[in-house]
Symmetry: C2
Subunit: 421 residues, 2 copies
């Protein structure tokens, strides 16, 4: 690692530590006000932010980035207004700090109170989606954490413009501006510093990105990581499923937005409804332009489907493609999901309550849905105001991560002179 | 890593995965019964366990291990009875699995239930204290996890004898015996496999040990770690402290047991009570044989104390030694603790409620006590039945870790056909 990068990042982390200690003791209203003034500053500086984004877009087009990449990078007034509205929704969330999670008296007579506190200094490493900078900053302020943001280099100008506005908002609310920082350099050593060079100063790394970033995080991280990995979401249509409900939910789960992590990637159809429900689902999806890759049994019932290969199981297409497999009952569906799922979001459609209970009990994913679209696996839909992502780690937080999930706790033990025997 | 060790550990981890999936769907009573039969089997096999321990002790003495080491390694009937009683206490703990942590209806109308589930496969790496094997096994069974234990090589025979009894207990309750495993080999590559070679199969590593183990974990771990590091516990005597209470609590915190992680290591005395309270504390501790290492101001008030050097701040003595420093009020005490503390357990003695609130609010440790001995920073004292240790990590669990802290959760989302707009 280049020593000058390490030094820049160390200074940034030291400032973040100081800022978060100063912010933590402020009352909840000050954090609320700071998120509101950050939203106002982003609104006032819309012109600057969109101009910076136009620069990024021009450069990305020159570099020949694909259309889907450009789409994720692009801001316009409507999208920016959406981002600002998202920040305002986070300001409306209850302040999590100081909440008594549990409270009890121990046999010795001491009172124990488990109270919610910030995690500390977060590092959020994301790809070229500038809205992530705004969401992550607002969630960090709401939860009393400091955040060091590091966006993809293609969105550098947009990210810096957003962060600059948010820091102006923090200053307007008289809160420490170093709660939100983003390095000026796009040097890749920044990521190395965040993953392993500053592990005494950074409390949690949140990577949001594709396979390359995930691989790097797994190899290099010396700090706690809240992973946001693949969403290989499965939907199982049980023999007891209502055909109409199955059609509607599968269509919405697959086609509402195909590029998001909670989109359906694999449909498991019970053999008992292969000839009844499956062709109706297939007709809808084909009409919507979705490519179907099905096993042999499913192709007999809907011959227009392509043949699936073994590579199709466990794949995250993020596109208008769906893998389809026939299963013999609940156990067979569970076997497939346990083997190929990513622990993100899985779904059963059934009217048999025992089947639903068994599926929800035995599928080991962050979000296990019954009879509702996978689109509900989402922080805003959960009522969290927003999310920093959907965690697929098993520890600390799983599923949608909002402000409250970005906190930890301590135990306050209060006595009247008790000693231990 | 030797390929044969990797293979042995992989097989062990595969069996652990299977066992915990089979155990998770069993009712709570089965887990309770299994812990009880494990305790019975340990009782029935006391002779075998003590004979194995005698072998370990003979070997450890041959190797010239120090007395404190031998003491931690040694079992006798009374100690073993204590361990068995501890296991029975864990059997009496409420089963955490399936508990609804929170439950609400989202604006879309779907019902969301956050439900408690096991973490999965735990690896507990500990030093030569065979009681840890029993505690960790009982907590793992209570929480529906499988555990791979790896004790220090000096306690190998004792650990294997305990694990063998517990597995007999599992079999007697018709539960999968591979919920609890311990490798037959003492090869150090076992630790390497647990830390980094099996990261797709092991969900959490819990290291319990000294600096060497901690350093190795930090360098090698590719899997989530619940750290149990130093307990550099501070006690601050505020100007408003009741002198008698301060004497009693400080004495108990320091001298009840000096070798444990919640023992007091540093006393911070407010300058305002340096001439009044401090000499009384010093007299008690000196009479108990505690060496005092004090700063200049404190030595003026109690000249018999040794002079502290800068090396004494932040040290974990685990012995009858106490560092003593004079501070100018609360902020000065907080500065010292933030700089030298280990985030484990810290204490204030005060009668001024505002000072207590400020101290408990601003000290960033897992357990922050007021007017009670640091000895209460303990799983059994918290009412957890036992503990796998006191976590000093910031995420997931902090402080005493019992069965409930060895769980994670998933969200069950139930709808009636809702799709997302």
């Amino acid at each position: 690692m280049k020593p000058e990068i390490h030094k820049v990042m160390q200074t940034m982390a030291d400032r973040a530590c100081e800022a978060r200690r100063a912010a933590e003791i402020r009352p909840a209203e000050d954090r609320t006000r700071a998120i509101e003034t950050a939203a106002e500053a982003m609104h006032d500086q819309s012109g600057t932010i969109l101009a910076a984004n136009a620069e990024d877009l021009a450069r990305a087009r020159e570099r020949g980035r694909p259309a889907a990449f450009i789409d994720r990078l692009e801001l316009n007034q409507a999208r920016l207004d959406g981002v600002i509205a998202g920040i305002r929704a986070i300001a409306l969330q209850p302040d999590p700090l100081g909440e008594a999670i549990e409270q009890w008296s121990a046999p010795s007579g001491v009172d124990i109170r488990q109270t919610r506190i910030p995690i500390g200094v977060l590092a959020v490493i994301f790809e070229s989606r500038p809205n992530v900078a705004a969401d992550a900053a607002a969630l960090a302020i709401r939860s009393g954490n400091a955040v060091i943001l590091r966006g993809g280099s293609d969105s550098q100008a947009s990210s810096l413009a957003i962060v600059s506005a948010i820091r102006d908002g923090l200053a307007a609310a008289d809160m420490p501006v170093d709660l939100v920082q983003h390095p000026e350099t796009t040097d890749r050593d920044v990521v190395g510093a965040l993953l392993s060079g500053l592990n005494d100063r950074i409390d949690l790394v949140v990577p949001r990105g594709g396979r390359d970033l995930v691989a790097r995080v797994q190899a290099e991280a010396r700090v706690a990581v809240l992973g946001h990995l693949d969403g290989v979401c499965h939907g199982y249509v049980h023999a007891s499923a209502d055909a109409e409900m199955a059609r509607t939910i599968i269509r919405n789960s697959k086609m509402r937005r195909t590029g998001v992590c909670n989109a359906l990637e694999c449909l498991l159809v019970d053999r008992d409804c292969l000839d009844t429900v499956w062709p109706q689902i297939a007709r809808d999806l084909s009409a919507d332009g979705c490519e179907l890759r099905a096993d042999e049994a499913a192709r007999e019932a809907w011959p227009q489907a392509h043949a699936a290969s073994n590579d199709d199981w466990g794949r995250e297409y993020l596109d208008a493609i769906l893998a389809v497999r026939t299963v013999d009952g609940l156990d067979s569906a569970l076997d497939h999901i346990n083997r190929y799922g990513s622990g993100h979001t899985d779904l059963i459609i059934a009217s048999d309550e025992a089947a639903i209970r068994s599926f929800q009990g035995r599928v080991d994913s962050a979000v296990v849905l019954a009879n509702a679209s996978t689109g509900f696996s989402d922080g805003a839909e959960f009522g969290f105001g927003g999310e920093i992502g959907i965690a697929t780690s098993r520890l600390h937080a799983r599923g949608p991560v909002g402000a409250r999930q970005l906190t930890t706790f301590k135990y306050l033990v209060s006595g009247t002179g008790q000693i231990r025997g």
